[in-house]
């Protein structure tokens, strides 16, 4: 950790994340600060007979000030989008506008899901308007907001496809086609839906290989799942032909919305021939990722599939009149039922609505333009090779002789978050990079400088990284060998 290491030189960016060390260990667990056992039952005060209760409960008992410090310290050991650039490919790590937290925290957003429809007209109106926004943005006729994440949206799409085919007497269709370079969730979702997954190789230019697609399609095809632009950032130029081919065999075309940010206002899945799509609102519409979730994965469909969407949906009531329309819940005629206990991640939907209402047409158009320009500019400034073009909102560079995972670790020392690494596998030692529209030219220059500094470093330096983070390189293989998943497991160890 000497100051003359690359990241430490005065003319370069350096980053020191907060690191707390006490008695040779990092910030202790709550359970190491206190453990208190409360006996339950065995006394006359207990409102329940002892045979219905547990004997005791042992948890940390700490004061509010102690907790405030604990969690503040933990937060300081996390890199977020507000800490610096976060160009994770396919993740669309945008700045999350602060005001959306305030609107989601409005007391009137806090309603119980079993409220009568007449008493939650505000929630229903917001959902109705959001359905409408999303339909326009995706070119879709009907939208459900229920799926709580992108993968849940995919699941709705797959279940809708099943219901549709069965409704048409084509329940024999048992295959879903997924490009080799697709998100892992596509494969896993198709399998969860009971389908055999047919993997589709890409052509030399990184797009869907039409001959391979022709060979994969058959009367057993239920759907083709596609991301456009694909994970290399390339637009599937043959999309119209692809859609025709899939429809000719009676299959449905599914749009994975992970990369929708590239196309906002410039092309719509509905116009490309997609029948069903999901939106990743935590990507495209800037709702915060929250360390892994919650997100939301609304699904849009063409008219023909609307009767199969999850129940309930929101519509304007028939007797709606006067200045304030009224809204009601209804079950689509051939609904697949539910994929979430209630209406999905409601608070995330409120933030989504607010974001879209804030940006409007011009903001959304600017988002895609700037996201694509930023990706192209950044790629032009880095020394790593970018084999596939023309990319849009993201590009996949190759670390060449360097190990992409080590490159990522070293980039942390420069105060930037690294790209997604080693995926898609079509690019050796892939660095999948998506800067989004929120980075300024200055920040992109700083990011490029970090890429280039690491590109010039030797393997030894890379393997020793990171040096300046809250923890040093963690041995993940070792952690998986003997999993310790709770403070109880740590205790058993000792």
């Amino acid at each position: 950790m000497s100051d003359d290491s690359g990241a430490g030189r005065d003319d370069r960016a350096r980053y020191d994340q907060a690191r707390y060390v006490e008695d040779g260990q990092y910030e202790p667990l709550l359970s190491e600060k206190d453990r208190t056992t409360v006996e339950i039952g065995g006394d006359d005060d207990s409102p329940l007979p002892d045979d219905l209760t547990r004997d005791s409960l042992e948890l940390p008992a700490l004061s509010e000030p102690e907790l405030a410090r604990h969690y503040t310290r933990l937060s300081q050991m996390i890199y977020g989008i507000d800490s610096g650039p976060y160009p994770l490919g396919s993740c669309t790590m945008k700045y999350n506008p602060k005001f959306t937290e305030d609107v989601a925290a409005l007391p009137k957003a806090a309603v119980h899901p079993d409220r009568s429809e007449t008493s939650v007209q505000g929630s229903l109106e917001l959902m109705y308007r959001l359905q409408d926004y999303l339909g326009r943005i995706g070119g879709m006729d009907a939208v459900t907001l229920q799926p709580p994440a992108g993968a849940a949206g995919e699941f709705v799409g797959i279940r809708v496809a099943t219901a549709y085919h069965e409704h048409n007497g084509e329940g024999h269709r048992d295959e879903v086609i997924v490009p080799e370079s697709a998100h892992g969730t596509n494969f896993a979702t198709a399998a969860l839906g009971g389908y055999d997954v047919v993997s589709l190789p890409s052509d030399d230019e990184g797009r869907v290989d039409l001959e391979a697609l022709e060979a994969a399609l058959s009367e057993n095809t239920a759907a083709l799942m596609l991301t456009n632009p694909n994970t290399l950032g390339l637009f599937e130029r043959d999309i119209t032909e692809i859609a025709e081919m899939v429809h000719d065999v009676g299959g449905l075309l599914y749009y994975d919305g992970a990369n929708l940010n590239a196309l906002l206002g410039r092309a719509r899945p509905g116009d490309m021939g997609f029948d069903v799509m999901h939106y990743n609102v935590h990507k495209t519409f800037a709702t915060p990722h929250g360390g892994g979730g919650p997100g939301a994965g609304p699904v849009g469909v063409v008219d023909e599939l609307a009767p199969f969407l999850p129940a309930p949906r929101v519509r304007e009531a028939d007797d709606s009149s006067g200045s304030e329309p009224t809204y009601e819940l209804f079950d689509p005629d051939h609904t697949i039922g539910k994929v979430h206990g209630y209406q999905g991640n409601w608070l995330v939907l409120v933030k989504t609505f607010a974001y879209i209402a804030r940006l409007g047409d011009e903001g959304l158009l600017d988002a895609s333009a700037t996201a694509v320009l930023n990706a192209n500019y950044l790629a032009s400034q880095i020394e790593y090779d970018v084999p596939y073009e023309p990319f849009h909102h993201e590009f996949v560079a190759s670390a060449g002789d360097q190990d992409a995972a080590d490159v990522a670790k070293r980039m942390l020392d420069y105060g930037v978050h690294p790209p997604t690494t080693k995926w898609p596998e079509i690019v050796p030692e892939a660095l999948m990079t998506e800067p989004t529209e929120v980075e300024s030219k200055d920040t992109l220059d700083r990011l490029a400088a970090a890429f280039n500094a690491v590109a010039a470093e030797d393997d030894e330096t890379l393997e020793a990284a990171p040096e300046r983070t809250a923890a040093r390189r963690i041995d993940q293989t070792d952690a998986a060998r003997s999993p310790r998943l709770s403070w109880h497991a740590l205790e058993n160890d000792e």
Partner: protein, 445 residues
């Protein structure tokens, strides 16, 4: 400097000069040249969505949500409105927590990983089971995942999943969707006075059953008295015993591990979130035997290069981004930030506070039931059981009319039968109880 521009996204910082320089570096004159989109699929129209200032947008959302009536919610059935202390909002809203991604770079994510490790530990303590993941979406999806787990780990060739006949429709329907792609089918067993009917369950359990699901408390707020016997029935058939519960209930009710439970699911966000129109946090804990088949993310403790304890996502080979169609689940984005809030809320309460909150859920429900029972035309509770948080009352009047009248007086309750109303005390301030009883007295006569 990063000046702002007049139009476009307020969150895309650039000046015209910078943009020109960037276009030059890229080698194009116009951004539009960068879009490799065939003409026939280009969108030339407009969405017709007006841009607004932040202030206008806030006013818009406030006015739309303003149409929600302000009611005192005596609502439960799996979703509770416990008071969430300010500490949770302020600390969980720290932007490092809120704006970070999944912890694929653990060295810069130690704080979140530790918080999730502590969340998992909380569930391990509450359930007595060795493994808890760091979240599913909600109780319904966690139940669905438990069923697919049962299919993977059971050695029998059976295919029936048994659930109580009173199971919430949202959970039942979600479960049906999760098992639709498998050989499993969902069947019900009867309940007796709201709790599992053990005799009927014994008849229903055979070698064809892979999973028996029960809830504690039940959907009607009653406490199961014969959990161990349900566990025995499931165990004899080599079926998984899956229990639905939540952190507050688990603080005082029988510890799942002590009554033969294999998997605990439920909604953990009863702590950490206010009522959020159904947004939740899927609790998922299980016995160590199923570790390699667990759905979702797990945080484990390991060591860093300085031999200090550090945390990382672990056993990722179960997950979709590595195992693809052979993954244990398709889940990627989860409810991590809600799990953080839940862990914070539990830490705020501490063991005394958790136990006290649960016990008050018993006594306050009992007290309110006694008071409603005194009203002419009302019987409460309907079920001759112990209750937690909520109970069912029988009303002579049509329940729907009673509920509508209560709503006009500012109170929301569940209608669960033609003459049955369900009432929940969780999160209801003490000072609202008297007015509620008064209103009930007026409308029930």
């Amino acid at each position: 400097m990063n000046g702002s521009h007049a139009t476009g996204s307020p969150y895309a910082p650039y000046t015209d000069d910078e943009r020109t320089a960037m276009l030059e570096s890229v080698g194009v004159d116009d951004v539009e040249e960068l879009f490799d989109i065939p003409d026939d699929v280009r969108f030339e129209d407009a969405f017709g969505i007006d841009a607004r200032s932040e202030r206008e947008t806030r006013r818009l959302v406030r006015s739309v949500l303003g149409r929600n009536d302000e009611l005192t919610e005596l609502l439960g059935r799996g979703h509770y409105g416990y008071y969430v202390p300010s500490l949770i909002d302020h600390l969980a809203d720290r932007s490092e927590f809120l704006t970070s991604y999944t912890q694929y770079q653990p060295e810069v994510s130690q704080g979140f990983l530790q918080a999730l490790f502590e969340y998992q530990s909380l569930l391990v303590e509450l359930t007595g089971l060795e493994v808890a993941n760091c979240s599913m979406y909600d109780a319904a999806t966690a139940l669905g995942e438990a069923a697919t787990l049962a299919e993977r780990v059971r050695s029998t060739s059976g295919h029936r999943v048994l659930v109580p006949d009173l199971l919430l429709e949202g959970r039942r329907s979600t479960l049906e969707n999760y098992v639709a792609g498998t050989d499993l089918e969902v069947a019900t067993y009867p309940t007796d006075d709201a709790n599992a009917d053990l005799d009927a369950l014994a008849d229903a359990v055979d070698e064809d059953v892979v999973m028996v699901y029960a809830e504690n408390p039940t959907v009607r707020g009653t406490i199961e008295e014969r959990l161990a016997e349900i566990g025995d029935l499931a165990g004899e058939a080599d079926a998984l015993f899956v229990l639905g519960s939540d952190p507050v209930a688990l603080s005082v009710l029988q510890r799942p591990a002590d009554v033969g439970v294999d998997v605990v699911v439920g909604d953990a966000s009863v702590l950490g979130l206010p009522t959020s129109y159904g947004m939740g946090l899927g609790l998922f804990a299980c016995r160590e035997d199923y570790l390699r088949q667990v759905p979702g993310r797990l945080v484990g403790a390991g060591e860093d290069a300085t031999d200090r304890r550090a945390y990382t996502l672990t056993l990722q080979t179960r997950e979709q981004h590595i195992r693809r169609e052979r993954a244990t689940s398709n889940i990627c984005t989860n409810q991590a930030w809600v799990a953080l809030r839940t862990a914070m809320h539990a830490a705020y309460l501490g063991p005394d506070g958790m136990v006290d909150l649960a016990k008050r859920g018993v006594t306050r429900a009992d007290d309110l039931a006694d008071r409603l029972d005194e009203i002419v035309g009302v019987t409460a509770p309907v079920h001759d059981r112990h209750h937690l948080r909520e109970f069912v009352a029988r009303v002579d009047q049509p329940a729907r009319a009673v509920a509508d009248d209560l709503e006009k007086r500012g109170f929301a309750v569940h209608v669960v039968g033609e003459h049955e109303i369900q009432v929940c005390v969780a999160g209801v301030p003490d000072e609202r109880i008297d007015p509620f009883v008064d209103a009930f007295t007026e409308v029930a006569r």
